[in-house]
């Protein structure tokens, strides 16, 4: 098969993985070297955007889309009649280097269908990374998908060459896995994540000790997965409510120190399995999950606050921060000139960066509404919730129900609330 054909098939097979991040790894470059290629560190760069609005930062492909597993939501499952292809190790290495030199990409995100057995598959994935790092002195970004069933030794090697490693959790519970991904096992996956976490921490402690004792680093001494581990959960292929997805994410952040959980709205695939729902979930659900995830990581919200038992599914019409504010009217209004940081973070429409600026500014002068506007804050959203020197919403006397209808779009619009302004901060940041 022609290389170009393989590329088409194996990119097609990889596109359901939402992650394309190339950020947060160690800073390195190839200055002063006549053979090394590449640099990384910092925020990562999106080299292009596909018409689906997603960033293209990495060459994201599968080594092969043949697979002996049968995950129903996946186009590569063994029972799908999709055309199969397989790259040789050398082909992926060459494509990565060629794309990188032309500045198309930041690096490689490689995963693979499982062929023969997990170790055989993992060996080949690791070999690609090894050749890039060792034979070609490649200093760009590498993300490797690992297989929980692969041997510890191979996972160790993967972490040595990769900036980030990931294992997809796929679904929020074992019951869902049993039905939709019969070969996959939640506790085995989490155990592998635990192993990776331990390895990352041991490695960074060792490096810290080395630094303190002034031990010099050799070139062979590689940082273990410096950009940490991430995972992906599929949204809408099973009946799990958002609460369950967020609970699972919370466990993954808390117990396994994941850097990122990606949510991927299950998407119609060619030759779909008959036990999948016919309709994919609205994309806005995925967006609300990202926002909630963001609130948990950077704003100090608990899962219970975002998706209480009484409302286990997120409101699709309004963002989760506003939802919480409407359920917690007694907390508001908050005085932007007095309130502590944690409370400022709870005001709908005011993000982390604006909070930092408010705290800076109010040391020198009291803020008025106009000042909030100058900071780029949407007054429409925060007005009922804030006190400034020239504004107190108490007299508006708005109750939660009336407020909600003020913010929620008409019912016919629900699917379209996800517009430019929303999207810009969304998939990329999730900031609310």
């Amino acid at each position: 098969m022609e290389l170009k054909n393989k590329l088409e098939i194996l990119a097609d097979a990889a596109k359901y993985d939402a992650s394309c991040a190339s950020s947060g790894t160690t800073k390195r470059d190839s200055a002063g070297s006549a053979t090394a290629l590449g640099s990384s560190g910092g925020a990562g760069i999106c080299h292009s955007y596909a018409p689906d609005g997603r960033c293209i930062s990495l060459l994201k492909v599968l080594l092969t889309n043949a697979c002996i597993y049968d995950c129903h939501y996946c186009i590569n499952r063994r029972s799908s009649d999709v055309q199969r292809a397989r790259f040789s190790v050398a082909e992926v290495v060459q494509l990565t280097l060629d794309f990188y030199k032309r500045n198309y990409i930041e690096g490689l995100f490689l995963s693979s269908g499982i062929v023969r057995n997990p170790d055989y598959t993992m060996e080949r994935v690791v070999e690609v990374a090894r050749q890039l790092r060792v034979d070609h002195d490649f200093r760009g970004y590498i993300h490797l998908k690992t297989i929980p069933e692969a041997s510890q030794e191979l996972i160790d090697q993967a972490g040595e060459y990769a900036d980030r490693i990931s294992i997809n959790i796929e679904l929020a519970s074992q019951q869902s896995l049993d039905r939709l991904a019969p070969e996959k096992n939640m506790s085995r996956t989490q155990k592998a994540m635990g192993g990776i976490r331990t390895r990352i921490e041991t490695d960074s402690e060792r490096r810290k000790a080395d630094r303190q004792s002034g031990k010099r680093r050799t070139k062979k001494d590689r940082h273990f997965a410096p950009a940490g581990q991430s995972t992906q959960m599929i949204v809408g292929a099973d009946a799990s409510p958002d609460r369950q997805l967020l609970d699972r994410a919370d466990v993954l952040y808390g117990a396994y120190h994941l850097k990122r959980v990606y949510y991927s709205a299950f998407s119609p695939i060619p030759s779909a399995s008959p036990i999948l729902p016919l309709k994919s979930p609205p994309l806005v659900r995925e967006h609300r999950l990202y926002q909630s995830d963001w609130l948990m990581r950077f704003y100090g919200y608990s899962v219970e606050e975002i998706a209480p038992d009484s409302a286990p599914n997120l409101d699709l019409d309004i963002d989760p921060k506003l939802s919480w504010a409407l359920r917690s009217r007694e907390t508001f209004p908050v005085d932007v000139n007095q309130a502590p940081r944690e409370l400022l973070l709870r005001i709908p429409g005011i993000g982390v960066r604006s909070v930092t600026r408010i705290l800076q500014i109010r040391r020198w002068s009291a803020l008025r509404l106009e000042d909030l506007q100058k900071l780029g804050i949407s007054l429409k959203k925060c007005l009922p919730f804030v006190i400034t020197t020239d504004h107190n919403p108490a007299r508006l006397g708005l109750d939660s129900d009336r407020l909600r209808s003020r913010f929620a779009p008409g019912p016919q619009q629900t699917e379209f609330t996800f517009t430019v302004a929303d999207a810009k901060s969304s998939a990329i940041t999730g900031e609310v």
């Binding site: 170009k4 590329l7 088409e8 596109k15 470059d29 190839s30 200055a31 070297s33 006549a34 290629l37 640099s39 999106c46 080299h47 292009s48 955007y49 596909a50 018409p51 689906d52 609005g53 960033c55 293209i56 994201k60 002996i68 049968d70 063994r78 029972s79 030199k101 032309r102 500045n103 198309y104 023969r116 074992q174 019969p182 070969e183 506790s187 085995r188 989490q190 976490r197 331990t198 466990v251 808390g254 117990a255 998407s267 060619p270 030759s271 779909a272 399995s273 008959p274 016919l278 309709k279 994309l283 800076q360 500014i361 040391r363 020198w364 000042d371 100058k374 996800f418 430019v420 999207a423």
Partner: protein
């Protein structure tokens, strides 16, 4: 009105601004002229101008916060002509005006203008790092690969951004050509030359076909979101991106492709897992549930190893989920 003549770059502004601050010249009544408004003759004088030469008298220090100088370096790359005057005004307020807190006040209108200009420059630099596309033109005798790119930045960012490429692509020879200024790297040093026309740039590269294939296939037609794409990759960049000509067709076909997938009859024939042997052992049997009280009563008779094995399996309380 006193006219201050500088070259359109940060260094030139900095020298002048420092001198004026030392002499306590207030910003009102100064007209900054950087020669870019078309009056070429101004440049002629500038080269001979006495105040460009390093001053031999020792000037007293003016202390300006480093954060401001970093901001000023970015603002200097912007093409708006008022930037020099506003920069000087803010520098004046920070020093003579004793408004040391000014940099924290994002609501001050002078500072806000500087911040907005700096953001535009930052964004332009970021897009340059993202959207430059090298085309291979050959190899040197020593085997170094040679590449050339054409790019049209909005602001004067080539000098500030070229070091990024020099560090990333240290082992190749490359040039980035733009209408205003070009950068060249030969493995040793960065050189800059005046801008050229796009005709000077190579027109294609063999790999672009592969890149386009990749672009077309990594795109998920079921999630068409053109607005999100355009806000990050505005149309003005499209003409120099080899993948951009595909956008129109991919978009047009997206709805049909998705419709086909959704409407295709779900054939049970497609689901053939029963016929294909899986070849993998099925997953671990669900772990036996452990009953803590029972285990405790037998604990005396068990080895430590057995106990810890059971501990791993215990799911009696929700804490097991968080155990690593």
């Amino acid at each position: 009105m006193e006219t201050i003549r500088i070259k359109p770059n940060f260094e030139s502004w900095r020298m002048q601004a420092r001198k004026l601050l030392v002499q306590s010249v207030p910003p009102e009544g100064l007209l900054w002229e950087d020669g870019s408004s078309g009056a070429d003759s101004l440049f002629g004088d500038l080269e001979n101008n006495a105040f460009e030469k390093p001053s031999t008298t020792i000037m007293p220090q003016v202390r300006i916060p480093r954060d401001f100088m970093n901001l000023a370096e970015l603002v200097a790359c912007h093409r708006v002509s008022e930037r020099w005057g506003v920069l000087y005004k803010v520098a004046w307020r920070l020093t003579h005006g004793k408004e040391r807190q000014l940099l924290a006040l994002r609501i001050d209108s002078d500072l806000k203008r500087l911040e907005d200009w700096a953001s535009a420059v930052r964004r332009d630099r970021h897009k340059m790092k993202a959207f430059v596309r090298f085309r291979k033109i050959g190899d040197t005798e020593t085997g170094r690969e040679q590449f050339v790119a054409w790019f049209e930045p909005e602001h004067s960012i080539v000098e500030l951004t070229a070091p990024f490429f020099a560090k990333r692509f240290a082992s190749m020879d490359w040039s980035i050509l733009t209408p205003w200024q070009c950068a060249h790297w030969d493995g040793q040093s960065l050189q800059f030359s005046p801008g050229v026309s796009s005709r000077e740039a190579p027109k294609e590269d063999q790999l672009e076909d592969y890149w386009r294939s990749y672009y077309a296939h990594i795109f998920n037609p079921a999630r068409l979101k053109l607005n999100a794409m355009q806000s990050e990759m505005p149309k003005k960049y499209w003409k120099n991106l080899p993948e951009a000509p595909l956008i129109a067709e991919l978009t047009r076909k997206a709805a049909r492709r998705t419709g086909d997938m959704v409407e295709a009859p779900v054939s049970t024939k497609a689901h053939v897992s029963e016929r294909i042997p899986s070849g993998v052992p099925s997953p671990d049997p669900p772990s036996r549930s452990v009953e803590p009280a029972g285990v405790l009563s037998r604990a005396d008779t068990m080895s430590l190893e057995e106990l810890s094995q059971l501990g791993l399996q215990c799911k009696a309380c929700p804490l097991h989920d968080r155990a690593t």
